[in-house]
Amino acid sequence: MTSHVKGQDQMRQRTRWGTRLVPALLAVAGLLAAAACGGTTDDEKPVAATGAATPNADKPVTISFLSYNYGTPGIGGKGTQSLLDAFHKAHPNITVKPQGVAVADVLTRLRTDTAAGSPPDVAQIGWSKMAEAVRTLPIVPVQKAAPADEWSTHVAGLSPSIMKAVTQDGVVAAMPYTMSIPVMYINADLFKAAGLDPANPPKTLDDVRAAGLAIKKATGKEGAYVAVVDSGKSDYLTQSVIASAGGSLVGSDGSVTLDQKPAVDALTAVAGLTSSGAMPKVDTTAAVASFTKGEMGMLVGSTALLVSAQQAAEGHFTLTTAPFPQVKAGTPARPTYSGAGLAILAKDPDRQRAAWEFIKFITSDAGFEIITSQIGYLPLRQTIETKLADTPTVKLLKPALDQLATVTPYTSFPSDHANEAVVTLQDDAVEPIVLRGADPAGTLSSVADKIRKLVG
């Protein structure tokens, strides 16, 4: 408890410094007197140092929730609205004011809002940006915002492998929320047309190549696609294939290991798909479009796409799924996850408490029922997986859920330049190797050097 309060004080100190510097610089810039003087902002008000343990539970509280699903016209927006409605019904004295944001702008919004002294109280943050967010933003680890007993009861029902994967230095900073892992989508009709059995899908990347070529030959359509060239520059699938080959981007000591043999093998295997013609040389956007049109046999991609793939397939082709393929025959596949977690940025104890109540609710059984059935993200609670087991969505998620046990933590480069390193990896190594036939070993080695310089 004491350490918690101390941490909070430091946090306040930090943000106050930050917000003072901004107007100071603006003053240097010779701006309006009004801007230079500034006003008293929220964070400068004395905050009762009571901590999260003694909240006033009955007082009505309003908290803000920044979500890239909220307000979107598709399933994500509707599902988020259902979650909010259910929460408001269960907790009438906590009002959650949602704020929509384009998925690409989440971190920009969080940073500018923080610099301006008014971050949202709860934010949905993608895992690929989480390390950076935790490092730079005044995030209160969700595990510390929760009373200890409530925390242990709450996480007891959550997937232990996911909870283990998102624990960093013994603390869970953000609550797993809309989670997905890669899975293999299959167009069963094209499989049958090529004389293949969709019930017996390819198990390794070599099998994928053979099946892809067979589909291409028999139907004239595209064979397979492994979505490592992610359009949003995320590297979760790159990490998944490398981890499945027994490697990693970053070693346990923080060193860059993406030029070691497992990584080279993994990208060589994926590049083998394109060079053989089993996989088209296009980016993920085009490949997903092709698959949803029914023009492609297999797509290895995120489960986040499941519901929209189901909708596209309906009446056009039979959609089935299979586990993420092994990169090396005999070595079990170890995909990593993508999606988002919920982080608390509230400073005031009452709002922290309310933020925890909100997070607790939307990641409870009731919450995950909505998340899975309406948006198609993984049911992280066994109870919900069992309860919804007969729904088409969970049936299709089954291969992915079975692989959750061997999920690999998403790794971030330990540096202020982590995002730049990821973009460098995707742009300078993965894309040229997979789409344009660049030499895997040589390219990875030079890109690894570049990234070492960047993060070192």
């Binding site: 309006l32 801007a35 006003g39 699903n69 944001v101 500018t112 610099a115 909708q311 056009h316």
Partner: protein, 330 residues
């Protein structure tokens, strides 16, 4: 170079027009003719003195040229319209056909439009966009006319510096201004207000200043001189002499500024993200989501968002007709 020689006097005269000599000289020399008949008979003067064969030849040549002209224009129009037509086409396609290459949306569906309208308060967003864009346009025109006029009208010591400041402001990348401007707006307490949305967008007013100054320069100096000698004050000259002549320029600049503001999205997304104030562009961004981007509704929403622009264009472009028709110069 005989042809050049023949037109040489005209060139000199026309060149003078921009500096003010011709505008007053021409009406003395020639009765103004209705524009229409003049253009429909462009070579009439020359053809009249030739024989009938030559005339027939000329007529054929003219028809061919008209056909060629329309051919070129139609080709350019098609090339320019292609993406818009494709977006229109796609906005009527069901989700599964969005990437389809069929040039017509068969089967067609209104589902995307329904989705776009249901997704968020699109009419409110359109209204917000309109208020923002109109506000910014008015401020730009006001600032532009005043500054443009003063640049042309008065010389003063700091002028070089001022003009350089206006020019350099144009080359400052907007991406670099967003964060400091945002922090300033936050300090001023202008977040989630129309003031916060509109006023900082004066940062791009250099364009209006430059364009309007350009047009004020074409106002014949003799006209200004005459008005001054008649005892008109500078304000009166601006209102009664310059502004009527600026009609086309004001129309064009208004359209440019309005559209640029209308299409801005990063600024509204940061400054005023709430549905009460944010713009339709911010709404369109939300269609590019993680769970399968909603391209059909996005394009449908974009189509709806062009309607107000088309109206503004229709209104403002009517002003872009011959300036002389609206001035006292005829």
């Amino acid at each position: 170079m005989p042809p050049a020689d023949r037109t040489a006097p005209a060139v000199t005269a026309a060149d003078g027009a921009s500096s003010g000599a011709l505008a007053t000289a021409i009406p003395l020399r020639r009765q103004p003719m209705p524009t229409r008949s003049m253009t429909e008979n462009p070579t009439g003067g020359a053809a009249a003195v030739r024989g009938p064969a030559a005339r027939r030849d000329r007529r054929w040549w003219r028809a061919a040229r008209t056909a060629g002209r329309h051919g070129v224009l139609v080709a350019v129009v098609l090339a320019m319209l292609f993406p818009t037509l494709w977006a229109l086409n796609t906005s009527f396609k069901p989700t599964s056909d969005v990437y389809d290459s069929s040039p017509l949306p068969i089967p067609a569906t209104l589902a995307n439009y329904r989705a776009a309208i249901d997704a968020f308060p699109i009419w409110q967003l359109l209204l917000n966009s309109f208020v923002t864009a109109a506000g910014v346009t008015v401020l730009h025109l006001l600032a532009g006319v005043l500054a443009g006029w003063s640049f042309v009208r008065y010389a003063h010591r700091g002028q070089r510096v001022v003009s350089a400041l206006v020019l350099v402001a144009l080359v400052v990348p907007p991406q670099a201004l967003i964060i400091p401007d945002f922090l300033l707006v936050a300090r001023l307490g202008w977040r989630d207000t129309f003031v916060g949305l509109i006023v900082p967008q004066l940062s791009t007013c250099s364009l209006a200043v430059l364009l309007l100054r350009q047009h004020i320069l074409t106002v014949p100096a003799t006209l200004l001189g005459a008005a001054t000698l008649d005892g008109a004050t500078d304000g009166e000259i601006l209102r009664h002499v310059v502004l009527p002549l600026l009609r086309p320029a004001l129309g064009a600049v208004a359209i440019v500024v309005f559209i640029t503001t209308w299409n801005e999205f990063l600024w509204p997304a940061l400054v005023a993200p709430s549905p009460e104030h944010t713009t339709v562009q911010m709404g369109l961004q939300l269609f590019q989501n993680q769970e399968g981007p909603e391209y059909g509704p996005l394009l449908a929403g974009a189509m709806l968002a062009t309607i107000p622009i088309a109206l503004i264009y229709a209104l403002a472009s009517r002003r872009i007709t011959d300036a002389f028709l609206h001035s006292g110069l005829r």
